[in-house]
Every structure is written in C-alpha cells, then in structure tokens.
Homo-oligomer: 379 residues x 2
C-alpha cells in the first residue's frame, strides 16, 4: 500500500490523534499542516526552505497543473517530485474544487463536469476517470477522489443528489486508478451540514476501504461552529486506522479545533496567500506588517519566533519591501507564516503526547487572540 | 580612509588590472561585478544567496531609497547594511542618473535638480549637498558624487557646460561629505564622447585626489565601440592607485572589454532584470527560457554551469514557472544570471593573473556568441 497510517495515541483531553503517515517519500508526523504549492511551487519558497522549516508533505493542484504546464509534461519530467525538485511527499487534490470555484460556464452531468479554463476560456471536461488519469501522471503519493463540493448554504435535496453522485464518482475513481501500489487514493466524505447526510456519506465512502478519508465540503463559508459540529458528527464514524484529512483549513484556531475533533491532515492557501498581502500570524495574533504604524518599528515580526525572518529582519524592513512590491518581502512573510503554523502543529503534537491538548488550546488562544472570543476572526 | 585599492598586477596582454578593494565591510577582489539592489534588496534574492554565489559588494539606489522608505528610516535602522541584513560592502549611487531617467518635469539649475517623484508626482529637489546627506544617512561604504549624465547624442557645448557644472557639484559634494572616514566618496568623470572633453574632465576630477573614480555618461545608447574608445581615452589618465568604476555596464562582452581597458568595478541591472523576463545568460549565449521550445526540455539551463538552478531544475520547469508568473522561477533565473557573471569575473581575474586576458576574451566570445560578431547583440 502506498500510504500507511500508524496511530500512536489518542489524547485523553480530546479526540486528538497522534500518528505517523508512512509514504513512499518519507514519514510524516501527524497532525500535519500541508502547504499549498498550486503550480508545482509553494509561492516564493524553495524546496530547501520548506524542508528547513519542517515541511514533509506539500499539496499541489490538479486543476492548475492540468491547465499549465499540462500533466503530460509533468509525467515526462518524471512526475511532480522530480519536476519541482521535492523529495518529500506530495498530495494532489482532484481538481473538483477549482472547477467549481474558478472556472466559468460549468455544467455538471453524471459523466463529469464541462467548464471553461479560467485562463484561456477554452472548453474542457473533467470526469472522475480524467481526474485520476491526470493525478496518475502527476504521480503524487496521495491522490484525491473527484467530487462535487456543494456551496453553503445548499438545498438539502441538492446536497443529497450531489453526495450520491460524488459516491458513484468515487467508485469510478477507484476503478480508474492505475497506480494503487505507489499512489494512495483517498475518498472524500460530503453531505453538507446535515448530520444524517454526513453520516450516510461516511458509511458509503468507508465501505470502499480506502487508504485515507477526507472530510470535504467544509470551510466554504459556513460559521466555524457549524464546521466543528459537522466534524463531531462525521469523525467518530471514520475508521481509526486511516488518516483523516480536513481540506482547505489553515487558520490557527480551526487547526487546533480540527485536531481536537480527530483530524490528522490539513491544507490551506491561507498562510501563504495572506503573507503576500503583508499579513502575518504571530504569537500575539494577526499582524498586518504593511501598515504605516510599522514604518519605524525596528523589532522583529514576532519577538517569540526564531524563524529566519524574525532572526534577521525588522518590521520596518518588511513593511518597506512589501509596500514596494519587492519579492523578497513576500519570501520573508511567507517563510514566517508557514514556520508559525509548523511550530503550532509541533506544539499541538507535543500537547497530544502529554494528554493536554485542551489546556494547550486555552493558553494558545489566550495569547493569540487575547481574552475572550472577539479577536478570533479575520482568518 | 574608508576604502583602499591595492593593485596586484596588470595583465601583459591588455590594460586589465587585478586588485583588491579594502572596505569597512570586507575585501573585494577586482575586477568585480556588483549586483543592483535598488530598494535595499537585490530583487528576489536573499543576502545569503548573494554571498553563496560570490558577491561581496552590492549597489543600492539613492533616488529610490530617498522616495521609499526615506533615508531617515534607513538611518534610524542603523544604515543600509543593518536594514537589509547585508554584512558585505555597499555602494550607493548619487541619485543623479535616476532623476534624469525616471522622474518627470525636471529642471536643472546651478543649485541642483527639481523634479517630480515618478511614484507620487510630488515635487522634490536634490542638490549635491542633499545627495551626500542622503548617502551619509544610508551609510554605504562607497558613495558617489552627484552628477548630470547627459544623453547620447548631445551637443558639444551642452556637454561642456554640463561637465563643468558637474565638476562644481563634485567640489560641493566633497565639502558636504560628513563621514569621509567610513564612507569613500568617488568622483565621476563626464565629458560625453569627445576625447578632449573626457580628458579634461579626468584632469579636473582627479585633481581632488578622491579614493576612487567612476567613468560616467556611458552605456546611454551609444554604440559599444564608441564606449570602448572613450574608455581608451580616459582610463590611461586615471591614477593607477585608485579603483575605476564603469557605471551601468553588465553585458558579458562589455564587462570583458571594459576590464581590458583598465576598469575595476561594474554594476548593472541587466542580469537581474532580464532574468525576471525569462532571459538567461549561458556559456552558449543568451537563452530565453520562457520560449515554447523549452516546454519539454528536461535539460538544465546551462549544462556547463554548477549553480543551484542548473544543478536542480530543468528548462521545462523554469519555463513553466515563468509563464505562470511564479516568483520561484524568477528566483532561479536571477540566481543563475548573477552566478554566471560572478563566474565570468572569476575567470577574467584568473586570466589577468596568467597574463592571458586577450586569449580568454577570444575563446569566451567564441563560445558565448558563436563564430563572428553577429550574435554579439541583445544585451
């Protein structure tokens, strides 16, 4: 099997799990945050920098790589790992989410989705078989089933139909998968925000005995409490010997809350995207370093951080670079934000090890968001 | 004295000089190429990367730093070196060239130059005293006299007037300079393309016994042969115990030809600017890696290069990144182009050491430009 999950222990203060994900490109300690390298690069970062800050697995986007440079070129290059010079693990999504969120004039049928490229307007078609074909060409260690991610809010009848179709698509993905010995195909649970639909989806999907499962259809605009409720509905029904992946989540609070509800893997563009806009995550909360107030602030971004950026550069320099659209500024804030989340996940794993994740959450939120809940927004 | 030039030897095959430039931030072997870090950053690069590829001195732009973030902020940060975390040497230009090439509605008087910011349109004024004040605040190891760089072609009478005014400005710069013990003020020879004016300018400027001299007003659109002729007119009159700096030159052929005419220092945005457009310098000549022909080319940019980019990445990957506007692609091409020029200068120094620079030029041009002269264009 391409990927094997090893459960080390469960936290006595929460549903959190400490584990290891064994892949053909290394073993990853979980819970883990995966940076997003949309176009076979984590924007502004080198592979060496990602390694240095503690990353063992990256996510890359099937939809984007299908458009540019095309999966055949990546296959000819020897797959994503060789193409981008990354010897760690890679996960590719199915392209489904981007087809629904980025492309125009899409039409969903039982067969698949017709859409137009958001770049060229060219008409394209992705089916479950096509998504798996692309992902087989890209060669990631973990590949995802092609699914529909309904919007929030959505009509219950629509969610039900969509969920059943996504399940039929999953069966087609399993049948189409050409490289199960080197690439692990994860199923995706859908079912919207309804407990009974979610639980039915979990039962459907887990029947197929796949190497891992994602909880999809969340972080699509619903309140965070509702997302947490859905995780509480779904996670306990997932098998304990398989990894659980919450897609598209990367805010510090949702990472901790997700882990407490039994999630092992996360990805999100949040830390890298906000970094390129001059917004950073620090031990004292969000800090928008491009703001004028930092023009003469010669202290580090986060006095409690020992990352490359915080060891060598001031807020004044970062602000200057970002105001002037200098790439190096984006490198520095991106580095810091990713480092911050890796450090957070390291602390989370340590707290699970010591059966104190609930205590850790309280003290982390107190420092990160300040007293009360009112600062817990923005991300 | 802030900067001391040590002449090691002169090549027997040319006028080339091998030397060392001793500065408060390290000793630099000359002839040297200085990368341009306009806004206190060499675009896309980290200081560690610049060190690793062999850079010991950077250039930064007074005009740009005056506008953003402002020289007072850099002074408060502890100067340019500390602001940008660069422990090597720094040279700042005077701002003169940018005032003439970038800003609008400029008016030159004996006192200085009135102009409008190319960013905000705000009216500004720089005099020789102001330029030196800004450069004293920035704190570079080498600072440049405020001069007018006349366009090419220019009327002889205008060049004469401008040259004389630039000389008076130089005297004012010398008088205004507050930190001669830590910052070396270089004078700039002007005089356009006329031999007698050039030689008169050299005599004027060298009378002041400054720690170094630049040959200005070249690489402004004149044919390269004319530039070489001016160097042949001017360089022999410059004192042998002071460094000679040719401003704004960075094409491989002009670097070699400039060295052969006795130049010790060069700077240019060329390698970094063309890199960001997907154009690279290789041992076989110019290579525009963004071209479609490289989409499936899985060989390195330059098979004879051992830089970070060439050791790890293919032309296909670079092309993909640059087509997709991915920053990491620009990092990789920038790294390569700078490395290429540092390697070239290392080879040039070795050829001077062995009294074979003329032979080296012939074999380098043969490989870089191919037989004949027709490929020697583009940069």
């Amino acid at each position: 099997m391409a990927v094997r999950y090893e459960l080390i222990k469960t936290c006595r203060q929460s549903g959190a799990r400490l584990g290891r994900l064994h892949t053909p490109h290394g073993t990853i300690e979980t819970p883990v945050f995966m940076p997003v390298g949309t176009l076979a690069t984590v924007k502004t970062m080198s592979p060496e920098e990602l390694r240095e800050m503690g990353s063992g697995i990256l996510l890359s986007n099937t939809y984007h790589l299908f458009l540019r440079p095309g999966h055949e070129i990546v296959r000819e290059a020897g797959g994503l790992h060789r193409f981008m010079n990354w010897d760690g693990a890679v996960l590719t999504d199915s392209g489904g989410f981007q087809v629904f969120s980025l492309s125009n004039l899409r039409q969903i049928t039982e067969e698949g989705v017709s859409f137009r490229s958001h770049l060229s307007g060219k008409p394209l078609f992705i089916s479950p078989e096509k998504s798996v074909e692309i992902q087989n060409a890209l060669g990631a260690d973990i590949i995802m089933a092609f699914d529909e991610c309904p919007p929030y809010p959505a009509d219950r009848n629509y969610v039900r139909q969509s969920m059943d179709r996504t399940y039929r698509w999953l069966q087609r993905c399993v049948a189409a998968h050409q490289r199960p010995e080197t690439q692990a195909l994860f199923g995706i649970v859908q079912g919207g925000m309804d407990k009974d639909l979610r639980q039915e989806s979990v039962r459907q999907v887990t029947e197929l005995d796949l190497p891992g499962y994602a909880v999809g259809g969340l972080s699509v605009g619903e309140p965070k409490d509702l997302m947490y409720q859905v995780l509480e509905d779904a996670a306990p029904l997932l098998p304990t010997d398989k990894p659980r992946y919450l897609m598209g989540v990367g805010s510090p609070d949702a990472l901790v809350e997700g882990v407490m509800r039994g999630i092992d893997m996360f990805d999100c563009v949040l830390p890298t995207r906000i970094a390129r806009n001059g917004t950073t995550m620090t031990s004292r909360g969000r800090l928008v370093v491009r703001n004028a107030r930092y023009a003469r602030d010669f202290s580090p971004l986060d006095p409690d951080c020992d990352c490359y950026t915080c060891r060598h550069y001031t807020r004044a320099y970062l602000r200057h670079l970002i105001k002037a659209d200098e790439t190096f500024g984006l490198r520095l804030t991106t580095y810091h934000n990713l480092y911050f989340l890796f450090q957070l996940m390291e602390q989370v794993r340590e707290a699970i090890r010591r059966d104190r994740l609930s205590d850790f959450r309280d003290s982390f939120f107190e420092s990160y968001y300040g007293p009360g809940e009112e600062r817990r927004r923005g991300f």
